[in-house]
């Protein structure tokens, strides 16, 4: 299977199953896009007749080009078949029972009252609560005990607003550090925060202990303050932006992301990305809102072409700034074509419910943070482990081939079948697909690959840049 598209002045052809990416001229683009439907003679005759006066389409050139395409096919770099399905369960069965990441819900409460919050203002449709040190410690013990031979363990301090339980976060990090030499593990911590409670102590701690911090900012002040308000209705932009700037400045190059959400109110989210850049931030993420179908914030069918155009313009901006020596990172456009994930990872799904779980303030285990509060999906708890084998089996079987709609999708080895929570909320099944999300994902991948192609072409021929 191939995917051919034109973007940024390039004709790009992806060979889906080998992962090969080709930049082709117009002649070969014409040949490749009709290769599987027409014979050699029909194809060459058709193109020759369509371009009678163009020497690029002479019979000799067309034949030479056809031979190039044929050679790539024989080398397994074009039209390669999908032979991976029998391996789909391999990674999960090889690592069965191994947990490598936990999302610790240290605070089911929040000091902001954002109307679009998928976690219902941090409460996850339940009571307000914070995690005790004893529960958090048991969660870390559970993770170490179930991590097998895996060295790197990931723990995300999540909420609600995790800084509302900052003392416990600090105690848990200190405890985890004592486990590292004892068990030969290395913890990578992430903290996701709205910024309200950031002070010098938080900055110092995060920059010392957190591998990554995720800072919630929606971009333009009027966009951010439309949703991200306190309980009195006051916007938080003025309060948090200087704190984020101070934290990032002190971070000394360690990972961080400014993470925004865009909604029906700002499908033109590129302006928000530009605001983040103007504020001095360069590691950026901007996500489409996840919310109920009835919500006025939800992105509509009319928004879709606007959002797709914004993604294209974002890629153009990224290329332009890279050429000007002012690069920035957009989370969804990070793609390592030469060293990315292996095929096992690409087909095995996101890992929720098996290698990744969320822990509530009272120690219950859920397949991921987006299922917390959905009682049917409760897997067990951190003392007795997973007891709901039926639900865990659903997630264990949730690989790219479990989604019927993914079988003929060119992007399936870039998304691994998509987000189980989005699929469940859109279709009632974790093996369904959230079609709107798929459309956005495919556009992002086209842009990401085009930007990567441009970078590689510029590196090889700087006069092109």
């Amino acid at each position: 299977m191939i995917h051919a598209y034109q973007l940024g002045g390039y004709n790009i052809v992806l060979d889906v199953c080998s992962g090969a990416v080709h930049v082709v001229d117009d002649v070969s683009y014409g040949i490749i896009t009709h290769f599987e439907h027409l014979s050699r003679e029909e194809l060459i005759e058709g193109l020759f007749k369509a371009h009678p006066d163009d020497p690029a389409y002479s019979e000799a050139e067309l034949n030479a080009c056809y031979d190039e395409v044929l050679a790539l096919k024989e080398a397994g770099q074009l039209f390669s078949p999908d032979t991976f399905e029998p391996m789909a369960g391999t990674l999960k069965s090889r690592t069965s029972g191994v947990v490598k990441a936990l999302c610790l819900h240290v605070a089911h409460t929040c000091n902001l009252n954002c109307a679009y919050c998928f976690a219902s203002q941090g409460k996850y449709h339940g009571e307000r609560a914070v995690m005790s040190f004893a529960v958090g410690r048991q969660a870390l013990d559970f993770l170490v005990a179930h991590s097998g031979t895996r060295k790197n363990l990931e723990v995300d301090f999540f909420g609600g607003e995790p800084l509302m339980n900052f003392d416990v976060v600090k105690q848990l990090v200190a405890y985890a550090r004592t486990l590292e030499p004892k068990y030969g593990k290395h913890f990578r911590f992430t903290l996701t925060t709205n910024g309200v409670l950031i002070d010098d102590d938080v900055i110092d701690f995060c920059n010392r202990e957190m591998s990554n911090v995720v800072l919630s900012l929606d971009g333009r002040k009027e966009i951010h303050d439309r949703y991200r308000v306190d309980y009195a209705g006051n916007g938080s932009w003025e309060k948090i932006v200087p704190k984020f700037q101070k934290l990032v400045k002190a971070r000394g190059g360690k990972n961080y992301y400014m993470r925004g959400t865009f909604t029906h109110a700002n499908p033109d989210f590129l302006k928000d990305i530009e605001t983040m850049l103007d504020l001095g931030f360069t590691e950026l993420s901007m996500e489409p809102v996840v919310c109920e179908e009835s919500s006025p914030d939800r992105l509509t069918d009319e928004d879709l072409p606007i959002v797709c155009e914004q993604y294209e313009k974002l890629a153009e901006l990224m290329i332009r700034r890279r050429r000007e020596g002012r690069p920035f990172t957009f989370y969804h456009y990070m793609i390592d074509l030469s060293g990315g994930p292996c095929i096992y990872k690409r087909i095995s799904g996101c890992g929720s419910g098996t290698e990744y779980m969320a822990v509530t303030p009272w120690g219950d285990l859920y397949p991921c943070h987006q299922f917390v509060g959905e009682e049917r999906f409760k897997l067990g708890d951190i003392w007795t482990g997973v007891v709901n084998d039926a639900v865990q089996s659903e997630f264990a079987a949730c690989n790219v081939y479990a989604h019927e709609e993914c079988r003929d999708c060119w992007a399936r080895l870039y998304c691994s079948g998509g987000c189980a929570a989005n699929a469940y909320h859109a279709t009632g099944s974790v093996t369904g697909v959230y079609r709107y999300g798929c459309e956005l994902f495919k556009k992002r991948m086209e842009c990401a690959i085009m930007a990567a192609v441009d970078e590689q072409m510029a590196a090889e021929d700087p006069t092109n840049a």
Binding site: A20, V24, F84, T95, P288, I343, Y356, S416, M457
Partner: protein, 48 residues
């Protein structure tokens, strides 16, 4: 090749032979938390 420029990519079919160590990051565990993409992840296998 005069008409086609092939970009340097990881051969996925080859990765079937030596991949699958499972050391890579969990897909959702960094910036997004609301979608799934694995293309932007690093391979963390120590000896490839």
């Amino acid at each position: 090749m005069t008409h086609i420029k092939t970009i340097n990519t990881r051969n996925l079919c080859e990765s079937a032979k030596n991949g699958g160590c499972g050391e890579c990051q969990t897909s959702c565990q960094s910036a997004c938390k609301t979608s799934c993409g694995i293309a932007n992840q690093k391979c963390e296998k120590e000896s490839k």
